[in-house]
């Protein structure tokens, strides 16, 4: 079930709020279908704004974002994962996961079946009838992930989704996220503060800078695509993290 992920092209995309300063300036980027892009940079560099523009929650002040070279702004199926799991507390795990399908008017039996399958896929098969207050932070994020996948998205937008979790939970979620990505082939934009996380996940790392806002650099990650937790122990991974950190510091210090 490889999705029909689009090619996404950013042309001179910039953003300012009202008469304020630019929060993003002249972003040029071409993203291949199924590519995994991590976005990294200091607070206030426009990472979240960038995601919100891809999602269509916010409009660029200048330039344009094209999906499959269509200028009319038609968007592929997009799913957003917020910093907070943003679950509805009165719905069960299954109820939360099927919510997007319910909003689309999908018949009850079918959306229940999809939700049950996704619940198992993210490793929550045993807690489908629980309410969010009964779940740990990591489990809530898994529900949020499953909900985002319920519409079989072409593009997944993740805004520091695992930032509040402990390191072990975070690493496991990263690995599971990559496994899902390999299988389903959506394009991912993943905002993070952690270089290690970015190197583990990304094909390319987009480094943004603030004051003035600019695209500092784009760092390709040359690691094999099938990445597991074992990779984290390897020398090549440590070298890649060190290299990315060095490049990031050298450009951000300029």
């Amino acid at each position: 079930m490889i999705a029909k992920a689009p090619e996404i092209e950013f042309r001179r995309v910039s953003k300012r709020f009202g008469a304020g300063p630019l929060v993003l300036d002249g972003l040029d980027l071409k993203v291949s279908p199924g590519e995994f892009i991590c976005v990294i940079g200091p607070s206030g560099c426009g990472k979240t704004t960038f995601l919100r523009m891809v999602a269509g929650l916010s409009r660029p002040s200048g330039g344009e974002i094209r999906f499959d070279a269509q200028a009319d702004g038609t968007r592929p199926e997009l799913a957003f994962i917020f910093q907070d799991a943003t679950l509805l507390p009165w719905l069960t795990v299954l109820g939360n996961i099927e919510l997007p399908l319910r909003l689309r008017g999908e018949p009850r039996a079918e959306r229940r079946a999809t939700a049950a399958r996704l619940t198992a896929e993210v490793g929550l098969g045993a807690v489908g009838d629980y309410h969010p207050r009964q779940l740990s932070g990591g489990m809530k994020m898994r529900v949020s992930l499953a909900r985002a996948l319920s519409l079989s998205p072409d593009v997944l937008l993740l805004d520091e989704p695992f930032g509040a979790l402990d390191a072990i939970t975070r690493n496991r979620l990263n690995e599971d996220l990559l496994a899902l990505h390999r299988r389903e082939g959506w394009t991912a934009f993943f905002v993070t503060h952690s270089v290690t996380e970015a190197v583990f996940l990304a094909d390319r790392i987009l480094v943004l800078a603030a004051e003035p806002a600019r695209v500092e650099t784009i760092i390709p990650v040359d690691l094999p695509r099938a990445r597991t937790l074992a990779l984290r122990e390897s020398d090549e991974f440590h070298d890649a993290v060190a290299e990315a950190t060095r490049r990031m510091h050298s450009v951000l210090a300029r």
Partner: protein, 266 residues
């Protein structure tokens, strides 16, 4: 149960303090040598409750009817108006300020007017109970309908939810804790409103009610009777609030955290 105590404590201490307050009551009465028509002793109040049991039971039933009718209308119509206010921006801007304003109207004044307008029986009593509860329900529910976390609203917009879906699948469930807070206020006020109405209707009242009994006892200087009728008003109010809290528990217990504080504020 709260980790800070056991059921035994939560029953034992209130009983102990209750006994202490009753002792204080007897002490005040004894020290100042107060007669029953000024301050009846607790056992004299219970005596009046027993002597007048038929009349008081009938009156309590009448008050309960008026309160229940007014309360139900306040909750039902209040919720309906809240939905309209949430759905239509023009109502929110134009009408909602008056809802907040109407909360400030003293119920005594309303009672005086309603009793001159309506039949001085169940209709006017219910109308007063309704008016006193309606505005708190609307104010709380509207506040609830508009205090949905913005990320949840964005989530619905991102999934292209229709406005009615946003209202009924997001705003309404999200507002329920607020709605129940309003309903709890309305339940407390409903009995107060009914009794106020009954007192205002005075001798013209048909169907009686506890407020009417208070008037009668007052005219015959039956102070223990007034205390007994007042005690029943309190019990009635407790019954109403308890019913609302049980409903709240039934609807929210699975997902809402703040329930324990309803019965036990610790």
């Amino acid at each position: 149960m709260s980790p800070t105590g056991t059921w035994r404590e939560y029953i034992g201490w209130p009983l102990l303090f209750g006994a202490g307050l009753l002792g204080l009551w007897y002490a005040v009465k004894g020290i100042f040598a107060l007669p029953a028509y000024t301050l009846p002793a607790p056992h004299e109040v219970l005596g009046a409750l027993f002597d007048q049991r038929t009349a008081l039971a009938r009156a309590a039933l009448a008050t309960a009817k008026g309160s229940l009718a007014g309360f139900s209308a306040a909750v039902g119509l209040g919720f309906a108006l809240s939905l309209l206010i949430a759905a239509f921006r023009v109502l929110r801007i134009g009408l909602y300020p008056y809802v907040l304003f109407m909360q400030m109207v003293p119920i005594i004044a309303t009672a005086a007017i309603i009793v001159t307008w309506l039949d001085a029986g169940l209709p006017s009593v219910a109308a007063i109970a309704f008016l006193i509860g309606f505005f708190p329900v609307v104010a709380s529910t509207v506040a609830g309908l508009h205090s949905v976390p913005s990320e949840q609203v964005e989530l619905f917009r991102l999934y292209k939810a229709r406005p009615w879906q946003e209202l009924f699948l997001l705003r309404v469930p999200s507002s329920l804790p607020y709605f129940f807070t309003g309903a709890k206020i309305a339940a407390t006020l409903a009995v107060i409103g009914s009794v106020t109405g009954e007192i205002f209707a005075g001798s013209t009242a048909r169907g009686g009610g506890l407020g009417f009994m208070i008037l009668i006892y007052k005219s015959s200087v039956n102070t223990p009777g007034i205390f007994a009728a007042t005690l029943l008003c309190c019990l009635l109010g407790f019954l109403f609030v308890g019913a609302v809290l049980l409903l709240k528990r039934f609807f929210l217990r699975k997902w809402h955290d703040s329930l324990d504080t309803d019965f036990n504020p610790l």
